[in-house]
Amino acid sequence: MDSEYAIEAEGLRRVYRTRTGWIRPRRETVEAVRGVDLTVRRGELFGLLGPNGAGKTTTIKMLNTLLIPTAGTARIRGFDVVRETREVRRRIGYVFGGDRGLYDRLSALDNLRYFAELYAVPAREQRHRIAELLELVGLTGRERERVEGYSRGMRQRLHIARGLLHRPEVLFLDEPSIGVDPVAARELRRTVADLAANGTTVLLTTHYMAEADELCDRIAVIADGRIQALGTPAQLRRRADGRRVVEVEAYGVPATALTALRDLPGVRETALEERGALQLLTVQSDAGVDVQGDVLRELAGVRLGRVNSREPTLEDAYVAIVNAA
């Protein structure tokens, strides 16, 4: 099969049904994905952004055959993910973020040997391929140590090496940089960019806007199980055109103040991000309305730090899209 697209999805839906209790069972139905349509061209680096619980991981798991969609169809390089599972699996790699997914009491080398065998890497190529990947992810010299002694960054790099063993044509990266330090995250971004430059199609989910902005050819913003916006980073950024952003560092913003800020004339969005003891308050307003004075008046009595007024970024556009969902 030689499809123009590496990934195609039409009307993908996924419903989870859970049952708790035996005597009086309580059944719950959660609609995690409510009809996703997308196409990713071969060699494209495509980002899927969305808040927690938006349906990113469920979408990835339907595309990589781990979950069967409740409705809709999906194809990877032209192969149906439900009917032609093995053909799809030969062509994909899957890497997720976090500490799990590896055999901790085995060395990195043993992990890679085992997965190389499982993923049908020919026996005569395994040694060379493993050495090549250890070099790529910077673990050469540490490969005989048990994974339980590895830092999170090292585990993540090993995950990537594992996902690339069988030279997948399509790589699914589910929040690969979560919990990774900035230096390791930069290395990771370079590796991902190199893979895409060499023709691997990459579908990346991330919470980090800068990462998506730097890497992705196109981005889909998913919220509430549906794609809310799709375009290049520049196109998405334009969603916040005509706006101005006021950022205020504060300590202990009361909920009443936040409600009052939302009701100010000209204010379009507000967001409050916790950064340890500090809170970062972001207020988006129409560009023609100067809300800074009103914002500071509403925050009277709250201990404040730096106050900044700036042009909107991709992150502001993302917040606007998600809040509108």
């Binding site: 055959t65 781990l66 997914g101 055999y103 040997r113 997965f115 594992r162």
Partner: protein
């Protein structure tokens, strides 16, 4: 050839991973001692000291069974906790090639329980390791390990589907070793248990070991044990393919 290699490397890696768990090592040290003690006192109380070796072998086999049962259930559950179940099921292989190495590894590490029970019996209770057919005992032990590994696959197939697999494993421990005559002869059990015992590979494995220990025709029992186990393997492979699909539909391959 590639399938055999995958099974071999998979079994080796899972056995390596299992044998490095401090919890598993502690269990492997303590349980055989408890089982050897149980066997010795049961048979001494029953005025059958001449059957002490037979009892120790039976107790050792209980250890192998526990390892396979909790290994198959526990290993699948552990893979789920570790986040590796999705990664291995995602491999472009038949599910049986992915899961059989796990159950084979539990049977392999369970062999230690058999050896350790005999060793504790010799060291602490002075049981003489006088086997009627030492070589046939070895063959019977190998058949038992292979048979239990294959039987484990049948169990593991259901554990793939059920998220709380270990809840299912616990109540299966005692009935199976009781029904298989590992410690108490089947003849003293109610007659309705006989048909169940006859289809369990563990019954024939235990019988082969007993015959090799105290004399008897070992090979037919080994043959029946392996034949039933092979049937379990085929049924397990079939169920695994079906259950893997159901697990993907139900979303139970992951922990959440």
């Amino acid at each position: 050839m590639s399938a055999v290699r995958t099974l071999g490397i998979g079994t080796l890696m899972h056995a390596k991973h299992l044998s490095r768990s401090s919890f598993e090592i502690a269990l492997a040290l303590i349980i055989p001692l408890v089982q050897a003690t149980l066997a010795v006192y049961l048979f001494r109380a029953g005025d059958e000291p001449h059957r002490l070796l037979e009892a120790a072998v039976g107790a050792g086999l209980m250890g192998v069974w526990s390892s396979v049962l909790f290994g198959s259930g526990g290993a699948i559950q552990n893979q789920r906790w570790q986040g590796t179940l999705e990664m291995i099921m995602l491999a472009p292989r038949r599910p049986v090639l992915v899961v059989l190495p796990i159950t084979a590894a539990t049977a392999l590490t369970g062999t230690y329980a058999l050896l350790a029970t005999l060793l504790w019996g010799r060291l602490i209770y002075g049981i003489r390791l006088d086997f009627a057919h030492p070589l046939r005992f070895l063959a019977a032990a190998l058949a038992c390990v292979a048979g239990l590994g294959m039987f484990g696959l049948l169990l593991a197939s259901t554990f793939v589907l059920i998220r709380n697999a270990n809840a299912l494993a616990n109540p299966l421990d005692y009935p199976i070793w009781l029904l298989s005559g590992m410690l108490v002869p089947i003849s003293v059990l109610p007659s309705w248990t006989a048909p169940i015992a006859a289809v369990l590979p563990t019954t024939w494995g235990a019988r082969a070991l007993r015959e090799a220990t105290s004399g008897g025709p070992v090979w037919p029992s080994i043959g029946i044990c392996l034949a039933i186990s092979t049937a379990c393997l085929i049924l397990g492979a079939f169920l695994l393919t079906s259950f893997e699909r159901r697990a993907r539909a139900a979303g139970t391959l992951a922990l959440s």
